[in-house]
């Protein structure tokens, strides 16, 4: 048979081939999202025969109720702290590991360990470590009180610091803070665990990106007079890592929006909703309190964030960071 333009028949065959994938995608992705979007305008709850259209009431609450303002604050804090910190640490660790000739496999393994461990289990371990009275962290801090460690850590040796007013000195006096029990500390502690867990993954992505940077570009930079490591980083490493960075930022941001395990295992959103992150809010509203409508509304907001991020990534990847 000679080659010719596809006939109506072959056209139709094409649709048959993609049909299973399309059907699956519609059934398990598109339809649930549409249902969630619809439910977000209702007061539906499971087992309740009555369902009424409430319009934008759920969204209205999200803007006006303090619980949801705190949800946005907690989520934003988490994302804005964990994303830059884990990316910078990941990049730094990757650059350092890339520059050493020995033991780099050992370092890679050590930094990657938190990624491989189950976050839920790790969260429980951190909970014990940071327990106010039993935890190793506060105990260690307290054991330094009254010793030389206190004079060092209270920074009294710096001329402009009042040793008595320092964080460490006050901790010795009144006891060290409850990392998860104090609403000023809880979200930061959750952030810390998030960074600890995420940066190893980013490091591995950056290491992979670094291996693809051409050695000749570094040589060209050296010949052009880039004497300092900073000049070489700015001229070669950072631009060449552009595609990696876009990917790392997107994936870390999406993962940060999804934080759930640590909150569920340790703080349950408290104290006073200071760690009430979005995923946990969806879980609490929709599953625990059976407020499916409200849960759906949060889900829609969450999906919107993720969608915007993905679109942003596509734009950046296509316009800015691919050079050829």
């Amino acid at each position: 048979m000679t080659a010719r333009a596809p006939t109506h028949r072959t056209h139709r065959a094409g649709y048959w081939f993609v049909a299973p994938a399309i059907v699956l995608m519609v059934v398990i992705l598109i339809v649930p999202i549409l249902i969630a979007a619809l439910l977000s305008f209702t007061d539906y709850s499971l087992g309740n025969p009555e369902i009424s259209w409430v319009g934008f009431e759920n969204y209205d609450r999200m803007v006006n109720r303090s619980t949801y303002t705190r949800m946005i604050t907690a989520t934003a804090t988490y994302v804005l702290v964990v994303v830059p910190a884990s990316i910078l640490l990941g990049l730094g660790a990757a650059l350092l590991i890339n520059s050493v000739k020995r033991f780099n496999d050992l370092y890679k393994t050590i930094y990657f360990l938190p990624v491989m461990a189950a976050l839920l289990a790790m969260a429980i371990v951190w909970e014990f470590s940071l327990h106010p009275s039993l935890g190793i962290v506060n105990k260690t801090l307290a054991s330094g009180c009254g010793t030389a460690a206190e004079s060092v850590l209270s920074f009294g040796w710096l001329p402009w610091v009042d040793a008595q007013a320092s964080w460490y000195a006050r901790g010795c006096e009144r006891g060290f803070p409850l990392c998860f029990g104090n609403k000023d500390y809880a979200i930061w502690t959750i952030c810390f665990i998030g960074i600890w867990q995420a940066f190893g993954f980013n490091m591995v992505l950056y290491l992979a990106g670094l291996t693809s940077v051409s050695r000749e570009l570094y040589h060209a930079a050296e010949i052009d007079g880039a004497t300092s490591a900073w000049d070489r980083f700015r001229l070669v490493t950072w631009p060449m890592l552009g595609p990696t960075t876009v990917f790392v930022v997107t994936i870390t941001t999406i993962r940060s929006f999804q934080v759930f395990d640590t909150v569920e295992a340790i703080t349950l959103g408290g104290p006073s909703k200071s760690t009430f992150v979005m995923m946990y809010a969806i879980y609490e509203k929709a599953i625990q309190q059976n407020l499916i409508g409200m849960g759906s509304a949060i889900t829609v907001v969450f999906l919107t964030f993720v969608l915007l991020l993905t679109l942003g990534q596509r734009y950046l990847v296509e316009r800015r960071v691919h050079y050829s």
Binding site: H219, E222, D224, A226, T227, D231, M240, Y323
Partner: protein, 380 residues
């Protein structure tokens, strides 16, 4: 103009010795080519001169100053890479600005965003842009300054890479196979452009290539390297006419020189494959090898059978201006290539037997170890 002197350069990677004591004295303003088969250490040598690689032993001197401990960025050399190594995220103008920025601007003036707030920034950038523009115009890439390397053809990238090397007016240009990524026609064109550029810049060029044609066409002198040694250093003419040994003779010239077994009799008279060559070497009777370049073979005049070699033609290659006749000496498996004019081969058919003889004075004799033996001038 600055000369470069290499003395006793050695380089080994672990147990593998890549360079085995290289001594080279490169005159100011000279175009020196390092040529050799791949793996001969020529690129390593160039990178040692550049300072990108550290030698195991020996000294590099630039303009009479020992630079062993000077890093690449302080040696004031420019390098053109095989892959061009242009920064892909920068435009051609920015690529060409880079070496100047790194030399003329301070750390804070180079800093992103706040750099332009410094008082001298505008003046410095104006001067620098003028240099870039001027260089780009000499290379005829002025219209490409706003493009990224990815939007250029191979030849244009090549020029941009040259431009980036030229803006700083370095003491010497180092080029690592800069033409090998171009197509054949452009390569031939760029050969003459590079030679012109060298003539107008009057700067020392050190050029690395595996292509003997590039070496022969462009260099003032060429160094033939094999397995970490410089076998011969000389003008292209010297290397072509009087190679030190069979290895150099076979490397230079395309197609390869024909090697025919021969002998010298008690009086030193040389014959090759039974045919006397009218040339004499000093010393006693011995077996030798005779090298004859393809273009030095010609059809023997009719009826002079003992003046040449009977040659069976197996293949006729048409190059337009010339023909390559492939075949072997009758009754042997010595493959021979002869370069003849279309007129000469008009009557020659594949499978036929013809008689070839060398142009007088052209054969080269090698001893059995491969070293060249000089002919003795006959007093006639």
């Amino acid at each position: 103009m600055t000369g470069i002197r290499l003395s006793g350069i050695t380089k080994s990677f672990g147990d593998t010795s890549v360079l085995r004591g290289i001594n080279l004295d490169i005159a100011p303003g000279e175009f020196l080519t390092l040529v050799g088969p791949s793996g001969c250490g020529k690129s390593t040598l160039l990178r040692i001169i550049a300072g990108l690689e550290e030698q195991t032993g020996g000294d590099v001197e630039i303009g009479g100053v020992r630079v062993n401990n000077l890093r690449a960025s302080r040696r004031d050399l420019a390098m053109v890479f095989q892959s061009y190594a242009l920064y892909p995220h920068l435009t051609i103008a920015e690529n060409m600005q880079t070496p100047l920025k790194l030399r003329d601007l301070t750390f804070w003036e180079r800093f992103p965003l706040i750099g332009r707030l410094w008082p001298n920034y505008a003046a410095k950038m104006a001067a620098l842009n003028a240099t870039v523009r001027e260089t780009a115009d000499t290379l005829e890439i002025g219209h490409l300054l706003g493009r990224k390397p990815g939007q250029l053809s191979g030849g244009q990238r090549q020029r941009a890479a040259l431009g980036r090397a030229m803006v700083r007016k370095p003491v010497a240009f180092l080029m690592d196979e800069p033409l090998s990524n171009l197509d054949a026609a452009l390569r031939v064109h760029m050969r003459s452009e590079l030679a012109d550029l060298h003539r107008s810049l009057q700067t020392t060029f050190i050029y690395v290539t595996h292509d003997q044609a590039e070496a022969l066409t462009m260099s003032d002198r060429m160094a033939v390297m094999v397995e970490g040694n410089v076998l011969q250093l000389g003008t292209p003419e010297e290397i072509y006419r009087t190679p030190v040994d069979r290895c150099v003779a076979e490397f230079v010239g395309s197609p390869k020189i024909n090697i025919i077994p021969g002998a010298a009799d008690g009086n030193g008279r040389v014959s090759a494959y039974g045919t006397p060559l009218q040339q004499r070497i000093a010393g006693k009777a011995r077996r030798i090898q005779v090298g004859i370049r393809p273009e030095h073979l010609m059809l023997a005049p009719e009826g002079s059978h003992n003046e040449g070699w009977p040659f069976r033609v197996t293949h006729k290659e048409n190059l337009g201006s010339d023909f390559f006749l492939h075949g072997h000496l009758n009754g042997s498996n010595h493959r021979i290539i002869a370069r003849l004019t279309p007129d000469e081969v008009a009557m020659v058919t594949i499978g036929s037997e013809i008689t070839l003889c060398p142009a007088p004075g052209t054969p080269i004799a090698f001893d059995e170890g491969g070293r060249r033996i000089g002919f003795v001038k006959d007093r006639q």
